[in-house]
Amino acid sequence: MDPLSASATAAEIVFDRATKRYPGRPQPAVTELSLTIPAGEICVLVGPSGGGKTTAMKMVNRLISITDGDITIDGTSVRSLDLTELRRGIGYVIQQVGLFPHLSVGDNIGTVPKLLGWPKKQIHARAVELLELVGLEAADAKRYPAQLSGGQRQRVGLARALAANPPLMLMDEPFGAIDPITREHLQDEFLRLHRELRKTVIFVTHDIDEAIKMGDRIAILHSGGILAQYDTPDEILANPASEFVERFVGADRGLKRLALRRLGDVELEPAAGAATDAPRCKPTTTLRDALSLMLTEGAQEIVVAGDDDEPVGTLTLQRVSELLREQVTA
């Protein structure tokens, strides 16, 4: 295998009644969790504190042992694999990043390749390649973690997790300790990166908005690690499976759903009938932002116009409401 190639194979992950029980505690931390994560998708585990989402994630690389049931990666049980071999094949990113303060950025990124016995030159080339991939510079390889900002550190953490090109990434609240502006930036970049690399990702967060933004699928866990719902973000927002899920996603779930869709993705009415003074939006604008604009401008409709400023259609307030009541499209 050419370790420098960006075309990673992704793995399918299956939780099969995976259970974690701690001795002396009446309720399991994770209860018979069963779900299938298709290869190349981002699955977000979300839920309130004590919901067992981090526990469920750490059972995959066996930082926490599985009491009952099983988890398989491409059909192979994680219980059957050698512990170090299993972990070296999984990218691991945590909130506090956990960079090694005594190693340069380049050596941090090269940790797993070095354990795998790659030649020095190749490790260095890989570190430079990854630094550029996560938006840093080759010269940063010589710096120490203490010389980086919080956002830069998390980028290095991501690069380090990607170093040996693992088919699976585990990310435990990776952007949780980062200021809101940098966080949004990192989320966008990670999504761009994911479209390129297509690895399977298990992403833990307690923030439902982050879950909706990042997840191809969302697993909502409630206390005791019981799966409340596992579905696409659109489906969860449109049809919450229980009162718990409804409360967890929030009363504004309609608005959140609108944020998932862009003007360019929905069927618009002809532009001809629109009022001339109607506000204008680009096709990349989300329905939520378009609605916000209509409400602030006091307009009943907006005109969608491309880069050449040529109107392509109109979105009315009426149509937004219809779209929300429509069945899930995804």
């Binding site: 930082l63 070296r88 999984i90 956990g98 090694f100 005594h102 354990l115 010389q147």
Partner: protein, 239 residues
Amino acid sequence: MSPVIAGGPVIPNYGKATGCIVDNNSFFCTKWIHQHWSDTLQPALVQHVWLTAIAVGIGFAIAFICALAAHRFNWLVPPISAFTAFLYTIPSIALFQVLVPITGITITTIEIGLVGYTLLVLFGNTLAGLRSVPPDVIEAARGMGLTRLQVLRRVEIPLALPAIGAGVRIAVVTTISLATVAAYITPYGLGKPIFDGLQINYHTEYVVAGLLAIGLALIADGLLVLAQRALTPWRRARA
């Protein structure tokens, strides 16, 4: 400290520098230093360096192994801490004296005592250093598939180096100082000219030997600081 002279007036052999004694028993007869550098001071200094290096070397080896064991098995911490603290409380001259019937008037006697006194600070600092490694760093290391031994060797020990280095510096400086006392039992190292000088009430000898001990401590400490900087370049890296 009162002179440990027994008996009446002694006319010691001051060698060729007698002149500067007879005129005035000064605290710093440079002529005597010149004449006795090679037969008294230099050998004592070299011996003192060895005494210290062996004591800290053996002490460090013992303390390091104990700290690794205690880091792995927490229940070992109280007994080892208590034992090293107990050793530290024993008055030094008494300890050296007690050892004489067992190990005789030998360098071994000195070294056993000196090693005993280094253990408290070397064990304590090494353990504190190993424990100071942030839990997220350990978790990341384990999550990436480093074995327990690799975590220890590549992460915990390097990150404990600043604390270990601080412990070694204290151990070296206190050992250099304490080793002069050991000459009361076994005449060896810089303590020998100090006790000799006191015995014959010749100021220059014990003052110069004492200054050499201080100088040695300062130089050793300085070298250790430099070594520590070379070993931990990451500590000076700041944004």
